[in-house]
Subunit: 364 residues, 2 copies
């Protein structure tokens, strides 16, 4: 079986690493010949919207998937006419458009912060009047890692925000005080079976995920609630593969609010490589291949730290017992995710100690 992956970044790379033990082979398509996954799988270099490249890429594949959500519609159309492609394109089109995403949450009775569709400066003024400040204006499309958004704190921020984002279609979101940020990873097989991982607690810095802790502590009934929401999404989208649902915990009442979905394996799930019975990468592959989903039970207590912009001295990380290094083979650049470190331990306390050590090396 040959699995095609659109995108040859670290997610494609980790998909391949998880899939080789299942006896799979991989072909990746990426515009860059320097893609991290190219070291360990067949790499096709080509644009995602180049029909010829897509046809060559598809030739001989058994199934195709993607490692990022901004896949051009052209790419999915060409691939879907030739072979099974999972997750289904409705997952992509929903995740590509913040407005569609929020409307889906609403339709499925998944609570979310107040929002408004913004197509003009007038819309923005009306929206702010209804939702209040602080709020966040986000482009409907192509935002990631904190890019394509502006925080509106004071009335004067409102004047230029829409223009500053290029006058493109946006959504305005209520900015709620967060007690914490969580995510839930869930998979759905071709047969409709689903499996959810324990909730993960995430810490961001400058819009980029910095630390994930799993299982998130003291979640109580939130675990069951998050799973209900994740399963509603999976079923509504007739989803096949792994999906991440990012959640806020509202500081006022501790309730869950949906932030966004990612129709793919997700950075907040990297801990599952060592920290769960089956990694998110393996479960994504199992799902799209029609194989039984693997156990999502945690193995001890885990934390993941992203290595962003620079890689610390490798030997310092490796000297920490219980620390697992994952480098992506990328050249350093500010803000770039170059790797991650996962620590696992038998208790939350021991995990926290290890996390502290890693952060002291990585730079807290």
């Amino acid at each position: 079986m040959i699995v095609g992956v659109l995108g040859g970044g670290q997610l494609g790379r980790m998909l391949a690493l998880a899939g080789y033990p299942l006896g799979l082979r991989f072909r990746l398509l990426d515009p860059s010949a320097e893609s991290p996954a190219g070291h360990l799988a067949e790499l096709h270099v080509g644009a995602y919207d180049d029909p010829d490249a897509l046809v060559r890429f598809a030739d001989g594949l058994d199934v195709a998937t993607y490692e990022f959500e901004n896949v051009p519609g052209e790419a999915t159309r060409i691939l879907e006419s030739r072979l099974p492609v999972f997750p289904p394109s409705v997952g992509l089109t929903t995740a590509q458009d913040r407005l569609a995403e929020k409307r889906l949450f609403e339709r499925l009775a998944i609570p979310l912060p107040a929002y408004a569709a913004i197509d003009s400066q007038d819309d923005l003024q009306n929206g702010v009047r209804r939702i209040g400040l602080p709020a966040i204006l986000k482009t409907r499309r192509l935002g990631y890692d904190g890019k394509g958004q502006i925080v509106l704190s004071a009335p004067e921020d409102v004047t230029t925000a829409f223009e500053d984002l290029g006058g493109v279609p946006c959504v305005l979101e209520q900015r709620i005080a967060l007690r914490r940020e969580l995510s839930v990873l869930a998979a759905r097989g071709r047969d409709g079976a689903t499996a959810c991982y324990p909730l993960v607690q995430n810490t961001h810095r400058e819009g980029i995920l910095r630390v994930s802790v799993a299982p998130a502590a003291d979640v109580g009934a939130l675990q069951a609630e998050a799973e209900v929401y994740a399963r509603r999404l999976l079923d509504a989208l007739e989803y096949v593969g792994l999906l991440a649902l990012e959640l806020f915990v509202d500081d006022r009442d501790g309730s869950l609010l949906a932030n966004e979905i990612a129709p793919r394996v997700h950075n907040s799930g990297h801990w599952t490589i060592e920290g769960a019975e089956t990694s998110q990468f393996e479960n994504h592959l199992r799902a799209i291949l029609g194989l039984p989903l693997g156990s999502t039970a945690p193995r001890g207590y885990s934390a993941m730290v992203n290595l962003i912009g620079t890689v610390p001295a490798t030997e310092d990380i490796l000297a920490i017992p219980g620390a697992h290094l994952h480098l992506y083979g990328k050249s350093p650049r500010p803000g770039r995710k170059l790797g991650h470190v996962t620590v696992t331990a038998d208790s939350a306390r021991a995990r926290d100690e290890l996390l502290k050590k890693v952060l002291s090396i990585v730079g807290g």
Copy 2:
């Protein structure tokens, strides 16, 4: 850093899979273009004793290692003149010659079954007189997986045994009644630091490893004893890398006897991928690269079942929670190791239940 591996079989494949997360790249040399590791690393196709192939292989490598012990002396000589090669060649030459191996055990005061060097039919008759029957006659070189050996049970077996093995230099070994077979995996870094994994209990069938259980139950003082022996070997050989020491437990008195060493990652260590903090593959790479060794602590209770000759229905294995499938991408052939399955659990009892399930699918 580019690591060269002589041999592109499953061990080379799993070395590469363990090394990619460390940011390493791999190049493998194998006579067969169909090598399992060729799917996921740069593969050079060439004979191990072809100087031109070896020189091309060595070009640009940072370090070289091997995945099997019958490496031609020519290969190590050519590689060692160009770059660091680990484990050191004395590990190879010792493991390639059963007599040298036994003499090393003796020199290091590591107990072993009685033996005799056999270079003629006369030697064999004298040896049998001294050691008694049952005994096993083994070729000094090129034996593996039960090949190149004959069990001598009755006096009439002695008559043709030497001839049947081709009249090549042999060793005669006392055949002791075994309570069980164990192995210990140990690593030594470039700085001389050592680390030992828990003892593994192994079951063979027709000379081929079938099941490994780790940690081996009820080993008591044998763990410390095995570690002493392993460290004596590592230090005496000024070893760098992972070494496996196969041990017998004598049924008469429960004492440990050395069987043989393998100067490489070993089938009885595959459980470490999921069952230990750091896999044998990663620790071998850490050792040869001069990086700190990783923790060898077990993660729960593990068992590994080899898939020999045929692969059962993949979905049946994957449906067992806690079962981890590892296929090597090889075409089926009787007696060929095609993959393995590892189960992990929080208790020995739960592990044994999972092992039973796997064996019922694989064919007990």
